[in-house]
Structure formats: structure tokens, C-alpha cells
Symmetry: C2
Subunit: 346 residues, 2 copies
């Protein structure tokens, strides 16, 4: 049974207009009247039609965050950071999982079936820039990650090329000669927009060291999960001359590779040094602990929420912004060896 404004009005003995004023938080209602109406609202379990209300007030206090996969720890940790940054604005965050599918991303970008969200933070994988132009009139939108840099909307990311270059430099700096990369993807597979950028950084580092990229040392992966890293590591270990170091484009890939190395009785880092990307908690507790590139997730979240706030506040005159946040190379046991680093853990 739907409780209507008029039911509340009848119970409180006031006009419908007064109930509406109370429900909408207008300030000119007398305290005792407000109390009587509130009691009636509570008794009847009345829920205001937020759609009508938000059309007047322009706000629902709810934003959406859409990420490819909540069961990938990088996105789970980023989600926590966004929820916390949004809480400081008094916003509730609803999270949607797109699986990187273009149709899901389009659906989300055009406003989650018309759901009442004030704004959207989207980490796209399948969408192209020109597809987004069409939805510019829609819900305010901020993009995360590298897929659509330079597009028509606000965008936050780390400099993936530079981060990947420095990660590879770290391995070369240990004196390693055959540095492999796990994370190359065929275009059709591109489960992540970061693949071509991290690939460019890896190749740049090798070029600067006078090393030619060896196609054998860059196996293709179908995705960025543990199972993909394990398969790629098996491929690399089957080579006549296996690598002595591997840059994995995600920590999950590295954790899969680490497991295979342990199964084969190979020592990390003595036989093969490993560095990942993302700085997820799993890598801090693995044995050996995982060297990694740590993007400033909290900064990504804060910038995304701030930019969304500006858009929701109607500052549409500002041109689309492209914000770069910092990152850090974090060497741990998988490149430095045991006893070379302090105790793990946050």
C-alpha cells in the first residue's frame, strides 16, 4: 500500500502543502507543526517521492561508481577510497559492476536506467571517446583510468607510461638482462585500457638501456587476474632461455606468476625478480612480499569526487579537466630479497 501525502496530512491534521514543506525541509514551518507532521510520517512509514523532490531541489545525495569488477582488489580498494571521499560530501555511493562491457558502460553512462543519481564516476574499458560525446548532456560524469584520456569529460589517472618505465628500470637496475612483461593484450581482448600504456613504458625503459624487445618475453594475456599471470609465467618458463625478471602489469598477474615460480621450486628474486602494479593488500602479505607500483588511490578518489562536485554544482563552463595523480615504486622482497625490507603490512 502506497502512503500518500494526503494520508499524512489527514493524520497530522494539517494541509497537504504543510506536509510537503516539512518533507522538503523548508524552514518556515513552526516547530510544533513540524513535530506533528514528522510523527505522522513515522507512524505511517511515509516515504516521499524523491524523484519529484529532486526535480525541485536538484539533488538526491546519491552518486554512482561503476567499475569493471568488484572482485578485483584494485577496484575494491578504489571503491572504498571513493566511498570515503564521497562521505565527506555527505553523499551515498551506489556501486555498479560493468565487467568492462561496452553496453553496460553505455547504460550506466546514460544514467543507470534513469535512476536518481546526482553524478557518476565511471572506470571505462569498452567505451570509445565518440560514444561518450553523445551523453554529455546526461548525468554529470567523471572518468577514471586511461581509456578515454583527452575526451570530452573530466578524467583522473596516473601516468601509466612513466610508472611502467620506472618499474622496468627498477628490474634493470638490479642487473637483470632478460626482463619479460606479463600484460600485453591483443586489441580484441583489451580487458583494460592500461595495457598499451604500460607496454609503451616497458618498451621505453628497454630502449633506453639499449635492449631490443623480445616478442618471446611478452606473452599475451586474456585478462589481468591471477589465472592469467599463472598461464603467462608457465609460457615464459617453457622458453629455452627463461627471463630473470618480470614486470607484471597488475599485482594479480604477479601473484599468479609467483605461485607458478614457487611450484617449480624457483627462488624469487634470486632466479626471477618480480614487480607488479596496483599495490593491493594481497601483495603486502604474500611470501615473498610483492614489489609494486603504488598509484595514489586516495588522491584518485578525492579528485574524482571533487570534480564531480563541481559539475553537479553546475560549473559546466569549466572545460573538461585531465588530472594526473602521483604514484610510487615500492620495492619489497620479490625484487630486493628477504631481510632487505622492513616488516610487511599496512
Amino acid at each position: 500500500m502506497v502512503v500518500r501525502l494526503s494520508d499524512v496530512a489527514a493524520r497530522a491534521g494539517v494541509s497537504v502543502k504543510t506536509v510537503s514543506n516539512v518533507a522538503n525541509g523548508y524552514l518556515h514551518v513552526k516547530p510544533e507543526t513540524r513535530e506533528r507532521v514528522q510523527a505522522a510520517i513515522d507512524d505511517l512509514n511515509y516515504r516521499p517521492n524523491l524523484s519529484a523532490r529532486s526535480l525541485r531541489q536538484g539533488r538526491s545525495g546519491v552518486i554512482a561508481l561503476a567499475v569493471p569488477a568488484l572482485d578485483m582488489p584494485y577496484f575494491a580498494e578504489l571503491t572504498r577510497a571513493v566511498v570515503e571521499a564521497a562521505a565527506e560530501r555527505g553523499w551515498t555511493v551506489l556501486v555498479d559492476q560493468t565487467d568492462g562491457l561496452r553496453e553496460r558502460e553505455l547504460e550506466v553512462a546514460s544514467g543507470l536506467r534513469g535512476h536518481l543519481i546526482d553524478g557518476l564516476i565511471l572506470s571505462p574499458v569498452g567505451l570509445e571517446v565518440d560514444e561518450l560525446e553523445r551523453s554529455k548532456e546526461d548525468t554529470p560524469l567523471v572518468l577514471l583510468g586511461e581509456k578515454i584520456a583527452g575526451g570530452p569529460v573530466d578524467h583522473v589517472a596516473v601516468d601509466n607510461v612513466e610508472a611502467a618505465r620506472l618499474a622496468t628500470d627498477h628490474l634493470l637496475g638490479l642487473g637483470r638482462k632478460r626482463v619479460a612483461a606479463i600484460g600485453y593484450q591483443a586489441r580484441a581482448d583489451a580487458a583494460s585500457g592500461v595495457a598499451p600504456l604500460r607496454r609503451r613504458g616497458y618498451e621505453r625503459s628497454l630502449a633506453a638501456a639499449g635492449i631490443t624487445v623480445d616478442a618471446e618475453l611478452t606473452p599475451q594475456v586474456a585478462g589481468y587476474r591471477r589465472v592469467d599471470g599463472a598461464h603467462a609465467m608457465e609460457t615464459l618458463l617453457a622458453l629455452p632461455e627463461p627471463p630473470d625478471a618480470v614486470f607484471c602489469f597488475s599485482d594479480l598477474l604477479a601473484l599468479g606468476a609467483l605461485r607458478v615460480l614457487a611450484e617449480r621450486g624457483l627462488r624469487v628474486p634470486e632466479d626471477v625478480a618480480l614487480i607488479g602494479f596496483d599495490d593491493i593488500e594481497d601483495g603486502r602479505y604474500s611470501t615473498p612480499s610483492l614489489s609494486t607500483v603504488a598509484p595514489a588511490k586516495d588522491e584518485i578518489a578525492r579528485h574524482a569526487v571533487d570534480m564531480l562536485h563541481d559539475r553537479i554544482a553546475g560549473r559546466d563552463a569549466v572545460p573538461a579537466r585531465d588530472v594526473r595523480v602521483g604514484f610510487e615504486i615500492v620495492p619489497r622482497e620479490s625484487t630486493l630479497g628477504r631481510g632487505q625490507t622492513g616488516p610487511s603490512g599496512p
Copy 2:
């Protein structure tokens, strides 16, 4: 700028009522009229007021899932299972993170600020049964986990007492004599409703083997994350007579404990055997791989979605149901040793 029904009507050259009929999917509109209206809707980027519409149709096609922490892999994996089960019903799932806070759970249970959701699946930590009775008239609700079994709403969970008993039996079956438990919580700390149930199962197993519970072997934890498991393991290793086996109430606790054992140079399982709970992917790839209790997450998700579907369809006459799903003890290297198990991975 808000596009109104009348704007669409003017552009399409039809009445507002006709536009409304098209927007609401009524079937008695002529195909050519429908096409003209749809073109006007697309041109103007009109989004129907879903709230008004859903009050008539009773559906938004969106359900919410509220879990304590998306960055805990168990909940991330469960979320994926719910999203997939819901997709089969054509439902979109929006996910909310409560941090196990009573106020957030209450807010969510009373309908996410009146947001347009058809139903809610909630994994509660802080809420009590009597608090929920009040919101029974609200959005259809299904509960996950052990906190509110036997309450006034539908509920899905594994038999945690029995699962914990069998996990402890597994350790005793290896011939271990000092079997510790990591996961006991002071009531005020109860970050998870499962603690008292898994504790009961552990104690039952010991009792059946004629072993008295040793308070020293059951350190309290503040939460169920890796850091909590690491701290508890340090406490256990500082005992004059440390344990030779540990049942951890979650895989994250076990992974934290595993890291500490590796740092101390202790062998798993030779010196200390370990079993966790949850069967998260991390434990399948750790070295040694982690023995665990595997709850049937897909079944939990499917039952939750099916029961919610029944409630949304208005089958309120059915009394609240309490569904138990299966679980499995999965022995891996952390209890059986290397080479005793097949290759890891999913």
C-alpha cells in the same frame, strides 16, 4: 535543463497522454506514432520520471545489495555471484558498503533514502532482530549471513557451527594436539556475526576429542582482516608452548597468520598447520595454498535472489524462510603439505 513530457509531445506532434503511454510501454499505441514519439524522446534526451512510473508499474528493475566491506574478498566474490544471479532475472544490482555500522544498515534497510529499488539483499553485522521488525513494511528484504537467523525476514546462510566443527576435526585428524583458533571477538568488537557460531563449532570439536579449551589458544581479534590474523599469530607464537595447528575464522585471518609464520621461518604445515574459512581466490594462489571451508557462494546468491523475487512478486503470505546452503572442507597445502594436492587455481 529538464526535458518534460510536454516538450516531447510538442516535438512529436502528439498529446502528452500519448507520450506517457509510449514512455510507459503501453501496447495500444499505433507503431508509427510510437516511432515518432521515440524519435522525439531520443532527440530531446528525455528521461521519464521513473519514480512516478514505478509507482504505477511497481518495478524499477534495480535491486540493492548491501555488504559490510567490498574490499574484503569474500564479500567481493559474493557480490559477483549476486550480480550474476540477478542478471538472470533482468535485474541491475547497485551495491552499498555499510562497514557493518548499525546506522548505515538501518538506513539501507529502510530503503536507501527512498531510492527506487525493488528489493534489498543485506548482509548485516550491527543490526538486531527487533530493529528490523519495524521495517517489515518497507522494501522487500532478504538477509545473508548469521547475524539475524530466525528473525522476521527471509535469510540464507551456511551452517557455521557445523562447518567450524569439521574444520577443527580436520586439524585434529592430522594428529595435532594444540589446536588454536583465531577469530574470537569481544561482543563490542563483533565485526562479524559469525564469530560466536564458529567459536561454538571449534569448541564442540575439541570437546568431542576430550580436549579442554585453552584460553591462551583463542586470542581476541579486532576484525577479520589480514592485519588481525598477523597480530593474533604473533601473540600465539609468543606463548611458552605455541600451537601446532590453527583454525582461522576467515581466509584473510589465515593469510595474515601465514605471512607471520613465513617471517619466523616456521614451516607450514610441518610446524603449524593452518585452515581458513571462505575459500577466497587469494588462498588458492598463496604458497602454501590455503586449506579452507568453502561455503557455496553461488547457492547463497541464487537463493537470495529467488527469495527476493518471490517477495517482490508479492508472495507475502509465505512465512519468512531460513535457508541453509552447503559447504565443503577443502584441504590444500597448508594442512596436507606440498605435493599432497593437485595444481592450484580455480
